[in-house]
Symmetry: C2
Subunit: 395 residues, 2 copies
């Protein structure tokens, strides 16, 4: 199990601002809450961080599990504040505000800082009942989360191992397919995006991971970086496979993209693959503690622009070329701090980031190559152990 | 594809309150946004509902897909408001507030109502820039969502068919297991919660559904209604299986629970099963348009209390007996309106709800039986086609 999060930067902020506590009101989809509380639940629960501890307010349904599993100094259930009676009188929302007010009072909290994502309904509801609620503007918890502990890096690496198994399963299907009239065929049926996606998902499940979305996009589909792809996969075209699974137990994500082509995708596609790979390597070589995410993004843009393709740096409204950022942090969220983009700040040792340049054009298809790395003092450690090659092989 | 949502109740609210628009700022996890926009994306995007349409503000990455797929009258990308330049100057959060402000101005919106879940950071950020932001307190969109169209009911039924296939796979494993020294054994290995969960998940995947969590809980694990279960399954003990999958394409959930026992779980466990089944039937018989969720909950509590077990109605701090609500609405969220609990209001035709009483005690184990039904004018239509029986059989 993870050790309790180091919240000293948050407590320092509370002290400087003269605020009694930091409150989160969200469900399992909020990774700040999961990180701070060491707990996750399908329904909303509330966490308050004070100078003396981390305290949770949960429903009766979650009380047993929260008491056993959470990294909290105390767990209180809603019934302690007569939630059912309050709900009968004030409705569930009114009851929640009143129970939360009483819970905060029990921990000596009359003024709270909240994350930007804190529900405006809860913020305004508490304000109406006399509490001072201010939005913490820096994203302190997101900042704390950006720098991973060894334990977290191991969790992310474990997810990336599952990711590699899934990528190998997908690549194998494409490598072993027959080609019939320009279509890939497997087991007598056209090999589709959906079939490859299913293989990826089943492989991930067998490795304890889940995922909501996978991209297996062929031809023009692959030229839209967020198109998930559909229908038959074709020979002589680029196929982008982007897999971002989440370990069900730990909640930590992995992320990897490869681009394949069966047969010959043409000289221009091969040139774009080679340019993307060089941009990928140039960005990786730039990574180390002390440089900025913007520096890393610039390194990728330099290579792509020099090869004659547009980027959002050369044309902010470009719809072809390199039309996204070079990367992002990965942890309990698939997209988190730091940003490897023009807005990206200084990298620190322990940041886990993707490096994923790409070049897109519906007329040619899409190319993207992505690894997941940990920033170190003098470079990076690559958490991805998977070859980079356009031609698919069965592993 | 779904027809655009009927937002007339929302527009009536805006007109009555003299507010220009209703704004949502969230990602795919917010079902109100998905419902209103007919779109879903992994990263946050913004929707505004005005008197003349539904308008989306999305990143460049999502622009193509949003333009093609969303039920929106217009789609604008962040770059239209120089987002990258704003982000370089003000950071990503400052840039988002400014882009959203410009987007709202373009649609003539100077005052907005927002859902309770709207981010306090965005609310306060817009307020600082002179917009009037008020929280809409009734949950109007959640209310609209509670009543399903025929199209939505078909989607939910489709998910429930996948759920039945998964339940049959799980029940089959338990029915066909050998019993060795009190443990269920399958293929020479102890049959575990994890193994049954994997079978459920793979079956759901093959049916186009995903899920984050499944409950396969044996013995004392099953007495904690939210314990997911772990380790070997034992003969002569109650095994609770609760599956709530989500169709990946439509986003609509299903929900079903069955309780099984191999061998003889004992007289008290069998009595609890029989009482739970009677409470389940009594609750179902109460369901029709015009009765309240509280009435339905009372019907289940009556049976369970008469049989001598505690409920949260007889003792709000009960930790054994019937320690949760009788049910909840199901749709794009697994838990949504209406509530089948002491706080539950009037049911309407088209509400899709679970009926799921249970009786729990660590000394005996847990029993829960759950179907998913549509409320009709004179009763209900059961969306669940799966037998209720304690003894597992291979289907």
């Amino acid at each position: 199990m993870n050790v309790a999060a180091d919240l000293s930067a948050l407590r320092q902020y509370l002290e400087e601002e003269g605020v009694d506590g930091y409150c989160i009101d969200d469900d399992a989809t909020d990774s700040d809450q999961r990180y701070v509380s060491g707990f996750t639940a399908p329904d909303p629960y509330q966490t308050v961080v004070t100078d003396d501890g981390v305290h949770l307010l949960v429903s009766g349904l979650e009380y047993g599990r929260a008491s056993a599993e959470a990294n909290a100094d105390s767990v209180t259930r809603l019934a302690a504040y007569d939630y059912q009676e309050l709900a009968a009188e004030h409705g569930r929302y009114g009851a929640k505000i009143r129970a939360l007010e009483a819970f905060l009072a029990d921990h000596g909290v009359e003024s709270v800082a909240v994350p930007r994502s804190f529900p405006a309904g809860t913020a305004d509801g508490l304000r109406e009942r006399g509490l001072a609620v201010t939005v913490e503007p820096q994203g302190i918890v997101e900042g704390i989360r950006a720098t991973k502990t060894e334990w977290e890096i191991e969790r992310i690496a474990t997810t990336q191992r599952a990711n590699e198994a899934a990528m190998a399963a997908a690549e194998g299907l494409i490598a072993e397919a027959d080609v019939d009239d320009g279509l890939l065929v497997h087991g007598g049926e056209p090999l589709t995006s959906e079939r490859v996606t299913e293989e990826i998902e089943v492989t991930l499940l067998r490795h304890g991971c889940g995922l909501d979305e996978t991209i297996v996009a062929c031809g023009a589909d692959g030229a839209d970086p967020h198109d998930r792809g559909s229908g038959p996969l074709r020979a002589d075209e680029l196929i982008v496979i982007d897999i971002f699974p989440r370990d069900k137990e730990s909640g930590y994500f992995g992320d990897m993209t490869r681009t394949f082509a069966r047969g010959d995708p043409g000289e221009e596609a091969r040139r774009r693959y080679e340019v993307t790979e060089r941009a990928f390597e140039a960005a990786l070589e730039t990574v180390e503690a002390g440089v900025t995410g913007a520096d890393v993004h610039d390194a990728a843009c330099d290579v792509i622009e020099e090869a004659g393709y547009e980027t959002l740096r050369s044309d902010p409204s470009a719809e072809t070329g390199f039309i996204h950022s070079t990367g992002h942090g990965v942890g309990l969220d698939i997209h988190e701090e730091p940003s490897i983009s023009p807005a990206g700040g200084e990298l620190e040792a322990g940041h886990v980031i993707t490096i994923e340049p790409g070049i897109y054009d519906p007329a040619v298809g899409g190319v993207r190559i992505e690894d997941l790395v940990v920033v170190t003092e003098d470079g990076y450690e690559n958490l991805t152990e998977y070859p980079v090659a356009l031609e698919p092989v069965a592993h």
